[in-house]
Symmetry: C3
Subunit: 156 residues, 3 copies
Amino acid sequence: MPHTDDLRALTDRIRRLEDEAEIRRLIAAYGPLVDHGDGDATAALWTEDGRYDVDGGSFADPNAIADMVRSAPHQNLIRNGCAHFLGPVHVTVDGNEAVAVCYSLLLERRDEQHLVRRASANRWELRSTARGWRVVVRTNRVLDGNPDAHALIAGL
Amino acid sequence: MPHTDDLRALTDRIRRLEDEAEIRRLIAAYGPLVDHGDGDATAALWTEDGRYDVDGGSFADPNAIADMVRSAPHQNLIRNGCAHFLGPVHVTVDGNEAVAVCYSLLLERRDEQHLVRRASANRWELRSTARGWRVVVRTNRVLDGNPDAHALIAGL
Amino acid sequence: MPHTDDLRALTDRIRRLEDEAEIRRLIAAYGPLVDHGDGDATAALWTEDGRYDVDGGSFADPNAIADMVRSAPHQNLIRNGCAHFLGPVHVTVDGNEAVAVCYSLLLERRDEQHLVRRASANRWELRSTARGWRVVVRTNRVLDGNPDAHALIAGL
């Protein structure tokens, strides 16, 4: 006859799989939300104290992220045709925190093709909140030989 | 001592994870099947009443999808070198139905590189059948600023 | 009241999901490790008798794989800016062995973009070891119309 301990161990294993699936799903929403130009929904992927650190700058909180999505340069990118295309996500969950590493491509429509304007390394630090998993810090750097990009992908 | 109710709840959670995994696996087969030129196996990803709605047309049933894969233009694409390359899939399961959203790239071999001929938004509506999860409707639109593409990725 | 048999069946289902997740995570580490230039960590993805079979050659064991990563051509690629970018992985687990099929892109920095130098088909044969899942044989071929590439993706 099974012990409650067995059930608890199984529940922990299921919970771990669910955490990883939820984190991958959260990150998979980023591209469509930002390419649709939905500033509020994009910002809601982050915690209230979350930030997004990119090449040449930083968005210090979710409002700044939403403003970036709504900005004229970003909206022009959308009108011209763009895709924020992600690669497979390598997730490491540790209790209520997690780190996810993945690549991203920014594609822009030009003539009869899409150009890959940049391939970047991404490191997402996440936290489990009352609203589910959310991004605390996302950092990305273009893969152009820059050592900062390497710091994000080292040690997997 | 555990109750059967606990086991049932765990079983439901496992089933949900399995459903999502199976759907992602089904969609991951699309690129290799269509780039290998296997019309029957590609068509078998769909339900018998399934359809595939693309820019500028629609394949009204699995036979039409198989015919597209076997057609001279598609076979020429394969001979020249191509990849139907997908991004991460955002799946939402609701009982025996599901919606999956992802991006796709069509790459064509040209000189010493592959050109990205288009990046598209994809929405897959799926159903759980006696043969497993299958595609009922796949709709895709190129991300060229076209509002139709945005309709597919809104609301994640 | 639940039977131990039920728990065993659930445990098997969880184990299957964990196996698939671990294999996808292992493969997701390849790009970052090889683009960071970490020969030892890249080689450690393989079993001790593992090999990597590529267009025009073969790396016969993990030491040869580590040497390739440390080689001047590969390190020059990294300095110039590159991304080994993978697509979704289609995994089939059979006990302690598994086969995974996916696509990969090699992107190189050039002027203000990344060029896709090649899109390739990949077949990974894996084994569950005392250190976890590891690669026994990885075979890839560029998708340029070459029938060898098709052999890797047929029969999903």
